[in-house]
Symmetry: C2
Subunit: 342 residues, 2 copies
């Protein structure tokens, strides 16, 4: 890796610079060729930066702004009014070629809208998608998109998501011909709504992708496919339901293991092991959702990410930048669209 | 309870009479005033029935047929061709007033289509909904509908589902003014698609219901509301995703607890407690989904239900029959529609 630069919205997220700056320093320590542009309030960033050794801080530059996008700001506010927000300035670093990717833990709607306007979508892409990976039984991640950037999608959008998801999985996991499926209420051809059915038809006639058919909700976590495509309404609810049921199970398990002194005693001994399993399942540990389909790399971190989780989002941005993800998606999409249309 | 009669599609499900007949006998043992009509192949039912004591078998009548709806039969086949299927004859018992409710573990699509045609929907109901309850942290069940009977729903259908779900929860849980929510990708008014937003507006102007607003996927299992409404596409995927992630967690937990001799030893001691928690979470133990909005009671059991699970489906049918659920929904819907239109 040579000369890779990330722009960080240092103010985004619940903990702002207290998480973003230490995570940035940690990333710099791990990657000697990485540089960082921290965007945010210097009065809050500098005190944390000062603790870093000089080799690291030499690779950090700072763009000072006191304006921030709040978690409850509407996207339109972020676009029209907050022209100097840390989020917007971070995205502009990518647009203007000063950074290879940006990371923000800020307001998702604002990030999506700003990134779309400032970076523009790739040719052939109507709408960017929010994509993340989930843990599967096999230990391999499963990519799910869209996660809520687009509440309703026509079949062409679903098709584009399938192409983009496949290329993302290829690029990040170095997996050739990843298996792509459409999320549906049944696996038979007649199941689902019109858009899902038409998207399936289109995918069946796209030999460049390894499309395997429909998949039901209970197969998401088996790892039987690598990329799962759905509209943002379904994707968002699927992801959040998973978080909810995981939390319920943890709760029930804790309840079950506090009844009776022997169980309580043994549970205390066994607890670190259970905790480590639950940690693997914790959605926060799969931090970093990518906005793909844009002419630049934007990674969204959970708002409540801690330093370790935020570091994962940074690492994801680094990987996507190293693999030149937007160019890969663009080339792949162009070749597929050319084949289909010509 | 006096003179309550259930019709059972004795052939439906993966195990047919081997599960349905023993479960029916168990239900008869528990409810001295219950009667059963078993519909199916007498050569398969009678050998199992013969083991029952005569008091129980006096309360069983049998309708013999060798025709069955297979799991992969299309609904249209069940409707047009399988005129003497055990499923259809069981529903006809309800239509013709010979039974107060019917239960089937057969093909969902065929059951839905046959029930709709044979029993008809209630006045004011366009489409029946499939509803079931999920386990919440609070220990109280949460009703989710639709679970896949209707892959896309306009706002009026979502509204009708909210009314029906609320009345069902009132009737079965004896809960006054249950909290009703719409499943969405955010809780703010501007979130979601047009149908969800319009349904919300309609519900906000329906004081007869205790509508509490939008709910996100991660709140489903907290028990913060009693009834959650969504279209069948989202509901089906939500339910199945929950099953999938629960299975993944169990798998990970088992993996985590087999590494290291001490952990393995302790895990063996603690295992029954963990098993009992997982059993509570097992979707099979929440067996019995109701088809509501019809002029008769139809309960769908999981296809792979065992005797205990099938008994739950029977008990649900008994409860709904005792509370005269279709009449309750009809009255409530009429009064609400009258208020809205008048």
């Amino acid at each position: 890796m040579t000369n890779l630069t990330l722009a960080l919205d240092a103010m985004g997220g619940d903990h702002g610079p207290h998480v973003t700056v230490p995570a940035a320093l940690q990333a710099l320590r791990l990657n000697p060729d990485l540089r960082m542009i921290l965007v945010g309030d210097e009065s809050k960033i500098l005190p944390i930066l000062r603790s870093a050794d000089s080799e690291l801080s030499r690779r950090v530059s700072l763009i000072h702004t006191t304006e921030v996008v709040r978690m409850d700001d509407k996207p339109v506010h972020a676009l029209r009014k907050a022209k100097n927000s840390s989020m917007r300035l971070a995205i502009e670093q990518v647009r203007d070629g000063h950074a290879h990717a940006c990371v923000s833990a800020g307001n998702t709607g604002a990030l999506m809208a700003s990134a779309k306007v400032l970076l523009k979508t790739l040719p052939g892409v109507d709408r960017p998608a929010l994509v993340s990976c989930l843990p599967a039984v096999t230990g391999k991640p499963v990519y799910l998109l869209d996660l809520g950037a687009n509440v309703s999608c026509d079949y062409e959008t679903l098709f584009q998501f399938a192409v983009m998801g496949s290329v993302l999985c290829e690029a990040v996991e170095k997996k050739s011909r990843p298996k792509v499926a459409l999320l549906n209420v049944g696996i038979e051809e007649c199941k689902g709504n019109g858009d899902v059915q038409q998207a399936a038809q289109l995918l069946l006639h796209t030999p460049q992708l390894n499309y395997t058919g429909f998949i039901e909700g209970d197969e998401i976590y088996t790892g039987c496919v690598d990329v799962i495509v759905c509209d943002g309404f379904v994707g968002n609810i699927t992801l959040k339901t998973s978080e909810g049921i995981a939390r319920l199970l943890v709760h029930q398990l804790k309840q079950g293991l506090t009844q009776g002194w022997l169980i309580r005693l043994l549970a205390r001994v066994i607890s670190p092991r259970i905790q480590s399993v639950l940690k693997q399942m914790n959605p926060d540990h799969y931090n970093g959702a990518s906005l793909i389909g844009l002419r630049g790399i934007v990674v969204k971190s959970h708002g409540n990410a801690d330093q370790a989780a935020y570091l994962q989002a940074i690492n994801l941005a680094v990987t996507e930048a190293q693999r030149r993800l937007p160019e890969m998606i663009k080339d792949r999409l162009e070749s597929i669209l050319l084949d289909i249309n010509g």
